[in-house]
């Protein structure tokens, strides 16, 4: 046994713990409340889950509309096959599970039952990227890489409660299938501080800056904004462009931001393979821009278990690590 004194190690929190910083403004279960609101206006919306209602905020909808909620059991192939069936009858299903199960386990059902017939099924995936410390069984670090190759599927990676609240009715209103990388529980509220509204398929500049441009999606937009503030203290002026829709991708806005003399950095809560970075890289090459882009994202490996702050720092997603990466690039 060690007798040396040291700071106690952080503990892996419960699977569904919030990733909000201490004292940060949050909104409770924004997806559940947004779905209830959308369903009050659109009586064709129904909710389905695969034994993860409480863990995907679907329970809020189930409580509000018990007759419009369908429990499919821990059976993701049935969940998405049945969701396709609901849509075939003209209803608008939102079907929730964890991202790992939607992307890895039920891919064939999403692809052939939902995406090929281009049905309005809205797939809601909890624990996207690195938002749980439970290890690779629950960390969907490659969900966007898996889904980007699926024709017809719209992919949305929201930053915060504002994004989620505004996205849900737009997902219901869009004709084809969608995939939402769900943030659940106490979700940070960040974008209300900016002149911003979520528009499906659009990237938005949240702040301007002359030295560096961050292209970010998901919760990494929150970190990008915090890192931009921190970098200002180092006399580095950083712009942030938030691109919550990964597919179809708003190349025009993003390339406009990249095609400058600024250092271009992508930030994503996803593997550096197949996600935002490669989406931006492919758009950049297609446009013939000889521009270097620095990726900040999860490494191409199976990640460790542990406490989220520990893991985010280890894998480069923490504010300190973002700042360090940018400063070393500018040296």
């Amino acid at each position: 046994m060690s007798t040396t004194t040291s700071t106690p190690k952080l503990k892996t929190s419960a699977m569904i713990a919030s990733f909000a910083d201490p004292g940060q403004k949050t909104a409770p279960t924004p997806f559940g409340h947004a779905l209830v609101k959308a369903a009050e206006e659109n009586d064709r919306i129904v909710g389905l889950t695969a034994d993860l209602g409480k863990y995907t905020d679907m329970h809020i909808f189930a409580q509000a509309f018990p007759e419009r909620f369908f429990q499919m059991g821990m059976a993701e192939q049935l969940l998405f096959g049945a969701a396709a069936g609901f849509a075939e009858t003209g209803l608008v299903p939102f079907a929730s599970t964890y991202s790992v199960f939607a992307a890895r386990r039920a891919y064939d059902f999403l692809c052939l039952d939902i995406a090929e017939p281009n049905l309005n099924v809205n797939i809601v995936g909890g624990l996207p990227g690195l938002t749980t410390g439970y290890g690779p069984s629950h960390q969907a670090t490659e969900d966007m890489a898996i889904f980007r190759g699926m024709p017809n599927l719209t992919i949305v990676d929201p930053c915060d409660s504002v994004d989620i609240e505004q996205a849900v009715p737009q997902l219901a209103a869009s004709d084809g299938p969608t995939y939402l990388r769900l943030l659940r529980g106490k979700v940070p509220t960040v974008l209300d501080e900016y002149d911003y509204t979520f528009e499906l398929g659009k990237a938005k500049e949240l702040r301007g800056g002359t030295d560096v441009v961050f292209i970010s999606s998901g919760l990494m937009t929150m970190r990008a904004l915090q890192a931009a503030d921190a970098l200002a203290k180092h006399k580095v002026d950083v712009a942030v462009v938030h691109t919550p829709t990964i597919k179809p991708f708003d190349s025009e806005t993003v390339l406009g931001a990249i095609n400058t003399n600024r250092l271009a950095v992508t930030l994503e809560n996803h593997s550096v393979v197949g996600g935002l970075f490669e989406t931006v890289a492919s758009a950049t090459v297609r446009a013939g821009l000889g521009k270097r882009v620095v990726p900040i994202g999860l490494p191409d490996e199976f990640l460790a278990a542990g406490a989220l702050p520990t893991l985010h720092d280890r894998y480069g997603l923490s504010i300190d690590k973002i700042v360090a990466t940018v400063l070393s690039e500018l040296d």
Partner: protein, 303 residues
């Protein structure tokens, strides 16, 4: 041409012997359609189409409510073909039902045809889903049955599966879901031809005992000779009596013979994808006609 221009199930009023005769006659025509399509292609899943013709005939000539000129009529009963490669048999049924013109069957499997080798919803009127990746149909059927019931429709959902398809775990997820949600408006049929791509079902992955399995999963289960129109009509009648907005889903397990109706093919070494020589198609047709006429003559002599 077909008499199936109704939007009510013809089973509703007719005497049993009339229904059986109608199903047998429809199945006979459908087998000819399947042989003709097979000849156009020079190959195809003719063995499966012949084996399952009586089941599909019972569905389309005796059970299903539909409007031939309006395949997407909201009040229709839904027939979902999980087994995409059985499309040749399904196209024969759609032609018999007047949904697809008989003349169009000659385009089966050709470029730009509405009748591709593996059934797809976006290509063919009356094709509800794109099957082919096996183990999908029953899950989608559960969703459609739930969605129809939720919207107050009394339309029924029929799903056609094969015994090989029962290897897929997703089929059993759906079997549990249908029972859990008490989908009395759902009827499924399994074509048990005891054959799959790599050989006989009991050597590839044993699925028996099937009656006990489906009963244990909470389904009202019947097992019949799937090439006997009378047994099929009786089984569908039993299933219809069970059908209700809430209740047990219905399973009709159908033992069938690959190539049924054409002795040359019935006796051939069984294969998932049957090869038939150019010179054999007419022999097949002649044998089919002779068999049907003999059976009809026998039936007439008996009565």
């Amino acid at each position: 041409m077909s008499q199936l221009t109704h939007d009510r199930p013809p089973a509703a009023a007719a005497p049993l012997e009339d229904r059986v005769e109608r199903v047998a006659a429809a199945a006979y025509r459908m087998r000819h359609y399947a042989l003709n399509m097979g000849e156009v292609q020079g190959q195809g899943y003719v063995g499966q189409a012949l084996g399952s013709a009586d089941i599909m005939a019972a569905v389309y000539a005796d059970q299903l409510r539909f409007k031939p000129d309006e395949p997407e009529w909201e009040g229709r009963d839904r027939f979902l073909l999980s087994t995409g490669h059985y499309a040749i048999g399904h196209y024969a049924a759609l032609a018999e039902a007047g949904i697809v013109p008989v003349d169009e069957l000659d385009t089966y499997g050709s470029d730009d045809s509405r009748l591709p080798m593996s059934g797809m919803a976006s290509y063919t009127p009356g094709m509800e889903i794109s099957g082919g990746s096996l183990g999908h149909g029953l899950g989608v059927a559960v969703g459609i049955a739930l969605g129809l019931r939720f919207q107050g429709s009394d339309a029924r959902v029929f799903n056609f599966l094969s015994d090989g398809e029962l290897d897929e775990g997703s089929t059993w997820e759906a079997a549990m879901g249908a029972h859990h949600h008490q989908l009395g408006n759902l009827t499924a049929m399994v074509d048990i031809n005891a054959l799959q791509a790599d050989g006989k079902t009991d050597t590839v992955l044993r699925t028996e005992p099937l009656t006990e399995k489906w009963e244990a999963f909470g389904w009202f289960t019947q097992r019949v000779d799937g090439n006997d129109p009378e047994q099929l009509v009786r089984a569908f009648s039993n299933a219809s009596e069970q059908a209700s907005t809430t209740g047990h889903p219905s399973m009709i397990l159908c033992d069938t013979l690959v190539g049924r109706g054409v002795p040359l093919l019935e006796n051939r070494e069984k294969a998932h994808f049957m090869r038939i020589d150019e010179s054999e198609w007419q022999i097949c047709r002649d044998q089919l006609t002779a068999g049907f006429e003999a059976a009809t003559h026998e039936g007439t002599a008996r009565s």
